[in-house]
């Protein structure tokens, strides 16, 4: 183990922990809120089961606005909201709020796209069998789109890791912030390189796991 890593062992572990908290909570937000929003986006489209132009437009505008914000500005813009939810705008927990908002918008769009890949005929046969909308969602749509949903979540997670690296500006910490503060600002180039290697390893592992699961679940 290189000396420099041993020297900063405690800080490195802490930063990895912070990254996991920020990304973990973003993933939970993506699943709990992004997945339903993405499903609604799909269902409210023209010609779909719950066709609803007003709802579709509102959700669509929300997703587009969040996604078109430069991320750092979104963080700043959301400070009052973050303070309202978490009680403070500084720290790892505070950093999870803008990350989660971005995660919701990001993943819901990928969910919508994954569901659009399900052949219309499948939905039609579900309706002809007398399935209700919730039954169609859970027994047909999600099942048939599951590989796409998992690949979307993989892509999203990797983006969340990338977004989380700038959370240092609100004291969010994390691997990226650690690499910048110690590696770059204190001229510990070697340390910075090791931190980058850790990030690459993390991303590769997530991508590999996601792709493998998606492939395994795809029977088409």
């Amino acid at each position: 183990m290189p000396e420099i890593i041993l020297k900063y062992q405690a800080e490195i572990w802490q930063s990895i922990g912070e990254t996991f908290v920020m990304v973990g909570i973003s993933i939970i937000a993506a699943l709990l809120i992004g997945l339903p929003i993405g499903t609604l986006l799909y269902l409210c489209r023209k010609g779909q089961l719950l066709e609803n132009r007003a709802l579709y437009s509102s959700l669509n505008v929300f997703v587009n606005i969040v996604r078109s914000f430069p991320f750092l500005l979104l963080v700043v813009f959301l400070i009052p909201f973050t303070r309202f939810i978490v009680g403070t705008a500084i720290g790892t927990m505070a950093a999870t709020i803008p990350l989660s908002i971005m995660a919701i918008a990001y993943y819901s769009r990928l969910v919508e796209q994954a569901l659009l890949e399900v052949p219309r005929g499948i939905i039609e046969s579900a309706v002809s069998m007398g399935a209700s909308v919730p039954e169609i969602i859970f027994k047909f749509l999600f099942l048939e789109a599951r590989s796409g949903l998992i690949l979307g979540l993989t892509t999203s997670t990797i983006s969340f890791i990338s977004y989380s690296t700038v959370m240092g500006i609100v004291g969010g910490g994390g691997v990226g912030d650690f690499a910048i503060r110690y590696g770059y600002q204190r001229f510990e180039t070697e340390l910075m390189i090791y931190m980058i290697i850790i990030m690459i390893f993390l991303v590769q592992t997530i991508q590999f796991t996601g792709t493998t699961i998606a492939k395994k679940l795809d029977k088409r």
Partner: protein
């Protein structure tokens, strides 16, 4: 069994309105195999989809099995659809479910117990001759086998009516003959009323008791016929070759 009264359905297409089905009335008796034939775009599929209100008619009433589907609440309509099976040209099986699980779906929707479900699925797969494929996925099956699974799925809830939209149009003649055989057995042994939409005259002629001919959204005429066996065109390479070279010789002459 099925009765349409002055049913119309139009679609908004770009700037204009397209009358897909116009003031159609039609009665189909219990136990009948009823064909619907017509050119592409004549409104056959729309007419079929009106029978289980997959398309809501602009006007007119649809009665199936003594229930007026057009006045039912959503919930009641969903229940009514459970006794109306439907199969499609492209099978529409759930690709991520095994054959067994595909056939089990309608039973799950009807809240069968696990034991009753397993038994019924096996029965249905036995009926279409695919019991040994239960644990395969649709992608591993041929077109004919997929359509058999779709038939098993449509029969699982013991429907009174089976609606078929171009059930053999994606299949070769040999496989078509097999599927028509299954449909005939469904009709004769289980007493299921069948409506079969097709643009293939041979198909309609071979199993239907009555045939409705459609033209631009209207019924031209409904005729009674005597079904005659489906003739399978030859499928032997020598015969193919003979046909091809004969043509060539003729054109060379």
């Amino acid at each position: 069994m099925i009765s349409l009264h002055n049913v119309s359905k139009s679609y908004q297409q770009h700037q204009s309105i397209l009358q897909a089905v116009h003031l159609v009335s039609l009665n189909i008796d219990k136990g009948e195999i009823h064909g619907v034939i017509g050119a592409s775009g004549a409104g056959k599929s729309t007419l079929l989809r009106l029978m289980n209100v997959l398309e809501t008619p602009d006007e007119g009433t649809v009665m199936v099995n003594n229930q007026t589907l057009t006045t039912l609440s959503n919930r009641k309509l969903r229940e009514a659809r459970r006794s109306i099976g439907m199969i499609f040209q492209h099978f529409n099986l759930v690709a991520n479910k095994t054959v067994f699980d595909n056939v089990a779906v309608p039973l799950e929707l009807a809240s069968y117990s696990k034991k009753a479900k397993v038994e019924r699925v096996k029965e249905c797969l036995e009926f279409v001759g695919l019991r040994d494929k239960a644990h395969q996925y649709p992608a591993q099956l041929s077109g004919g086998q997929k359509q058999r699974v779709a038939i098993a799925r449509a029969l699982a809830n013991r429907p009174a009516v089976l609606l078929c939209d171009e059930p053999t149009s994606a299949l070769d003649p040999q496989t078509t003959a097999g599927i028509l055989d299954v449909l005939q057995t469904v009709n004769k042994e289980l007493g299921v009323t069948i409506v079969i939409v097709s643009h293939e005259m041979d198909v309609v002629k071979s199993i239907c008791d009555k045939v409705t001919v459609m033209e631009s959204g209207e019924i031209l005429k409904t005729v009674s016929i005597e079904p005659q066996a489906y003739v399978i065109p030859k499928n032997d390479p020598k015969w193919f070759l003979q046909q091809l070279t004969e043509k060539e010789r003729n054109s060379n002459a």
